[in-house]
Amino acid sequence: MGARPSAASAWISGEMVCLFAVMATLPLWIEAAGLYQYLGIEIAIWMIYGLGFNLLLGYSGLPSFGHGAFFGIGAYVFGLFQAWAFESLLLGIALATVAAFAAGAVVACFLSHRRGIYFALMTIAFGQVFWFIAIKWHTVTGGEDGLLNIPRPALELGVASLPLGSNVALFYFVLLVFAVVVVALWRLVHSPFGKVLQAVRQNEERARFVGYNVWRFKWAVFSLSAAVAGLAGSLFSMAQQSAYPDVMSLHASGVIVMMTLIGGGFVSFWGPVVGVAVYFLARDVLGAVTETWLLWFGLVFVVSVLFKPEGIAGVWQERVSGVLRLRFADAPLRSGRTGDVSIVGPEHGETKDAIGQSPSGR
């Protein structure tokens, strides 16, 4: 039996270190690779968004097709705060996150009792409501044009003030936020809360009968996931220096689902990270070759859903470990003593004949 995981491994994993290292060097080689600095920012932001989204889709089995709403709320709130109050980076981000959390919390009150297709339909409906508000409420949101000239406030560190005007500087700031989000969500999915979410996904009824108020867990995870989307949205409005309704559209909400699934959000924590990278690379590399890149990407998505719903991470895991084993597997725990009473005999072959004489052959 394996040893108990160490305290350090609970905070950070080998994959994390590799990922952070690769991303930290990105500005050094991305241009040499024929790409551009802004792409790094975009990828890191959507990775944050995707990880938060997968808390819902992969870990809790709750498909939200309107998550763009919360991303958008984060973007607008960040922009509005800078315009109406004063320029502040961290306060703006915090407020955007809280606003998205609050919106998520309200929506989740209506959603948490729904299951399956009804849940999905409700998320679409709510997503459309927010999108519509963004378009129609001109005086606040700027309508179709959105909010323009959103500043990139400097990062105030007391003694020093780091300007984030350049794309490289902003990239490193977003990377820092990304790292914090990764570690926080990594802890979360291994915490009792994360374990309960996965239990609910596997068997909601049993989770209820062992004493979990499933409604509360769904509510909490939806709100949290919305908050992470809002955080990503606030960074996005800084990156774009604008906020516009398009990110709240059904299409944009669909893209995050697609990224998460292609990457393998159902089997791996890293699924959305992989999916986001693949999506943006496809957009820029395939996109340079053909106008119709999204068609090809969509076809790959269809094929993936049909034949490999576990996504890229699933293929990878099969390669590495032979078969798909535990989803989101943990390090093995310590285990106990020897048994006393056993109903599990040496011969398990009894199953088949036993079912034949099952008293309740329904």
Partner: protein
């Protein structure tokens, strides 16, 4: 006063009356049996008693408290556990994780989002002890979905046992087991009887008559007889429904 009482329970699905004026009472420290033919309403009765369905009429009282119509999770937190006839496990979790998630101490910090559950060696030990009690030592790290049928049956009980319940409902724990495994399960239930108050639905007469302190017979949604195994053996109704049951089952 009995630990658990059901008074005048009625339950219908559409036009079908499934439970009609059910009165049951289960004493602490006892093993109470419920028997009856296919479709008699036994599982539905458990479902009503453990909160899955609201009864149309009647009261459910646990330890002097009216718990009628409470949600399953609220009832579970009061100390009532149940197993399912058709097994209901967390298939992607290991056997150990299945039990772990059902431990009250883990449930108590269900909203802890920071401390990894795997770091909690004490909880893991406790879960392993529960698994060992049902004879699943050595299977801790097997995925529940990969376990053999008999092992899954045992895990089904372990998950219910994890809560250290004040009252344990078992719905046909021998369902689908062969004669030998049924005998081993009887040993397990006998062992559990020392520490728990148990209500068990069972089809297998020998199993139940050997173990139960009292038995209630449910037929057509009604309690048609009740008493100790000895009292029941002479009961005409019981003999007849048993004969019909034995003759009628596949």
């Amino acid at each position: 006063m009995a630990l658990f009482e059901a008074r005048g329970i009625h339950k219908r699905f559409g036009h079908q009356v499934v439970l009609e004026n059910i009165d049951l009472s289960f004493e602490a420290g006892r093993l109470s049996g419920i028997m009856g033919p296919n479709g008699a309403g036994k599982t539905t009765c458990f479902n009503v008693l453990t909160g899955a369905f609201k009864p149309d009429r009647g009261r459910v009282i646990f330890d002097g408290e009216d718990i009628t119509g409470r949600s399953p999770d609220a009832i579970a937190r009061k100390g009532i556990s149940r197993s399912f006839q058709t097994m209901s496990l967390f298939d992607e979790y290991t056997a150990l994780e299945n039990v772990l998630i059902a431990l009250p101490e883990v449930r108590g910090r269900g909203f802890n989002m920071i401390e990894p559950l795997a770091m909690d060696g004490e909880a893991a030990d406790r879960a392993a002890a529960v698994l060992s009690r049902v004879g699943l030592s050595g299977r801790e790290h097997r995925r529940a979905g990969d376990l053999a049928y008999g092992e899954r049956r045992a895990l089904e009980i372990a998950v219910a046992l994890a809560a250290g319940p004040r009252l344990l409902f078992l719905d046909e724990p021998t369902s689908g087991l062969g004669a030998e495994a049924t005998a081993r399960l009887a040993d397990l239930v006998l062992d559990l009887k020392r520490d728990y108050s148990i209500v068990v639905i069972e089809h297998d007469m020998r199993f139940l008559f050997g173990l139960a302190d009292t038995i209630s017979v449910i037929h057509w949604g009604q309690v048609i007889a009740g008493g100790t195994p000895d009292e029941l053996r002479g009961n005409k109704w019981v003999q007849r429904s048993m004969l019909a049951d034995l003759g009628g089952s596949p």
